[in-house]
């Protein structure tokens, strides 16, 4: 009986050894290396102007509108946005050429930067232009992070007169690609 007791003690201790097991080298400080680098694509802006709304004689004409666009001022983007790209695609089926200026405006409505897109007149063949990607990094990105409004100026260059029966549209479609770097530090 006594022997049994001693044995039982030994056995109970034996089981505790199971808890003292080995483990590979671990480094929990690696958490600090975590860096998320997601890339998000979103719509930027679009418009579609039919020619019959641009009733004009053969001379130049300017139309303008601005929109609230303070998304890049949000704290999260100010902290973690590392790069942004604008991609713009314009399709013109109006027999007039255009120059479209995209303006980034600060809260005082001062122009921070202007991006110009020259659009040739429609000549009967497909007229879709994909413009080179506008990249915002470093200094230019800081301008984007101050942007409160986005403005569009469409300047119609001289050419054939337009009336309410004119055909065609001026269509702009655009997107923004945002590159984040989210770190603990």
């Amino acid at each position: 009986m006594k022997l049994n007791c001693i044995n039982s003690i030994l056995r109970v201790f034996a089981v505790t050894i199971l808890f003292v097991s080995c483990s590979s080298d671990l480094d929990f400080d690696q958490v600090n290396d975590l860096k998320l680098e997601p890339v998000f694509i979103a719509n930027l802006a679009y418009f579609d102007i039919p020619a019959n709304e641009l009733v004009a004689d053969g001379g130049t004409q300017i139309i303008y509108d601005s929109r609230n666009f303070d998304i890049f001022k949000k704290q999260f983007l100010r902290d973690y946005l590392k790069k942004a790209e604008f991609d713009v695609e314009i399709e013109n089926t109006i027999e007039r050429g255009f120059v479209i200026n995209m303006l980034l405006l600060n809260s005082q409505n001062q122009i921070l930067t202007t991006i110009s897109f020259v659009v040739p007149a429609y000549k009967g063949s497909p007229n879709v232009i994909k413009y080179p990607t506008e990249v915002f990094e470093n200094q230019r990105l800081e301008l984007l992070k101050q942007t409160q409004n986005i403005g569009f100026v469409a300047l119609m260059t001289s050419g054939v007169p337009l009336d309410e029966n004119s055909l065609g549209n001026l269509k702009l479609r655009s997107s923004t690609t945002t590159y984040f770097e989210i770190e603990a530090k």
Partner: protein, 466 residues
């Protein structure tokens, strides 16, 4: 920074799995086996657990990755490890933790020495955490949507619940005759902190659809809901107390209350053949203290900042529109949570007669006349999507009169190599037990997908020892 820890927290919840206590189940030399089957064929004159040491159990593990996968000091970039884990995981991978600590426990036989009716009671603290791998949200956080045009990111991948509670319980089991034991247990739950976000739906979509005016079709359809109880005061700026202490206090003295029952049956069709079944934690908690429900419900289609040259002034603001479409609402309604209910069943065949050293062994149970027992056990537990199930084969051996061994082999969706070992020994009136599972993984615990242990010390008094 906060976002990073949130994401990391979601990925790394020292993930664990189910509450299956396959080694403890029907290990009747341990009084705590009554907590997994109130009809367990346990007999005693009276017993009490050593306060705080009578029952400690922790389950740790993960169905899709191990601590080693994430934190190995092997020169692999940490971000690559996180990405690998997310990529190889599925949305049904589970992260389940359960921890229990008995504060006190005890039991006594009612009636005279011929009686076969027993009462047991106690208080234990429990922590539960259950989460499915939020795979789509993790992908979105790691990669963004650029490389996933046309993919629907499901918001219902977010499915998580957590609770800290204390359980006051009283159980009764009675040997109706030599063949049948019936048992039941009533439980009063006191929940100190609860968080539930299991009824989410919605999606985030970015795609290109021909014929639309915009470059992309971007839709967020959100039906997110987080219910909390006993937590919201800690999130307020003016709170300056000790969160751990306050949760502990609420858990035992000021929790949301609930009721539940356990029930079980043990039946011997033949002397050496035993069938058992039990249902544990069939109950609910009425979450009523410091309740707060957050919801984000609505649909938003993002168009961009679009000029209108017709001259009408439309002062739209993307952010304001988004907040209006999917508003954050706070509600203060009571809600009911159901406890994770567990079901066990077993078949056991006993063989090999036991030769006692004692002169008289007449008070011993029928089964303890046998030296060996083997059989199978089934386990099931309710979970937000589909129940968890496990099958266990076991072998029990009475090594010495007062030393029992149980070995188990369990197959479930987490592992097919889960071997468990348990020892229960009694020295004088001191019963000690230690149970571990997944022993094969102990050669390098950091690579284990799961680990569970239970241990405890009780004083058990039998008639034969008087």
């Amino acid at each position: 920074m906060r976002a990073k820890y949130l994401i990391l927290g979601l990925l790394f919840q020292l993930s664990c799995f189910s509450q299956n206590k396959e080694v403890l189940y029907n290990f009747t030399s341990i009084p705590q086996s009554l907590l997994v089957n109130p009809s367990a064929d346990v007999s005693y004159k009276y017993y009490f657990g050593v306060p705080v040491l009578s029952g400690v159990s922790v389950n740790l593990g993960s169905s899709s990755f191990s601590v080693y996968d994430l934190f190995a000091d092997n020169g692999v970039d940490f971000n690559d490890k996180v990405r690998n884990i997310v990529n190889k995981s599925s949305r049904n991978d589970k992260v389940v933790t359960n921890q229990q600590l008995e504060v006190f426990s005890g039991g006594f036989r009612v009636g005279g020495s011929e009686s076969r009716s027993y009462v047991s009671f106690g208080v234990y603290q429990e922590f539960d955490f259950f989460m499915y791998m939020p795979k789509d949200l993790a992908l979105l956080a790691l990669d963004g949507n650029k490389d996933y045009m046309g993919k629907v990111f499901h918001l219902d991948d977010l499915n998580v619940k957590a609770e800290v509670l204390s359980v006051f319980h009283v159980g009764f089991h009675k040997k109706m005759n030599d063949k049948l034991v019936l048992g039941g247990r009533a439980k009063l739950y006191s929940s100190g902190a609860n968080a539930v976000s299991t009824h989410n739906s919605g999606y985030i979509f970015t795609g290109q659809q021909p014929g639309t005016v915009n470059l992309y079709s971007q839709i967020i359809s959100s039906n997110l809901e987080l219910k909390t109880s006993g937590i919201s005061r800690f999130t307020k700026d003016e709170y300056d107390g000790n969160i751990a202490r306050d949760i502990a206090h609420n858990t035992f003295f000021n929790g949301s209350l609930g009721l539940g029952v356990d029930a079980g049956v043990t039946y011997y069709p033949k002397e050496n053949f035993q069938i058992t079944a039990s249902i544990i934690d069939l109950g609910f908690i009425n979450q009523s203290k410091d309740i707060e429900t957050l919801t984000y419900k609505g649909t938003y289609q993002y168009q961009g900042a679009n000029p209108d040259f017709s001259g009408t002034d439309d002062p739209e603001n993307v952010f304001a529109e988004f907040k209006k479409a999917i508003p954050r609402d706070t509600l203060y309604n009571k809600y009911t949570t159901w406890r994770p209910t567990k079901i066990y069943a077993s078949l056991q065949y006993s063989f090999g007669y036991f030769r006692s050293d004692n002169d008289c062994n007449c008070k011993e149970n029928i089964k303890e006349r046998y030296r060996n027992a083997a059989g199978i056990q089934l386990f099931g537990m309710t979970a937000p999507r589909e129940p968890l199930v496990a099958v266990t084969a076991f072998y029990k051996r009475n090594i010495f009169e007062k030393l029992d061994l149980k070995a188990t082999y369990t197959i479930d969706e987490f592992s097919s190599t889960n071997i468990g070992l348990g020892l229960s020994g009694t020295i004088w009136k001191l019963n000690m037990y230690a149970l571990v599972n997944n022993v094969l993984e102990y050669k390098d615990i950091s690579k284990a997908s799961s680990a569970a242990f239970q241990l405890g010390i009780n004083f058990v008094f039998q008639d034969s020892e008087d």
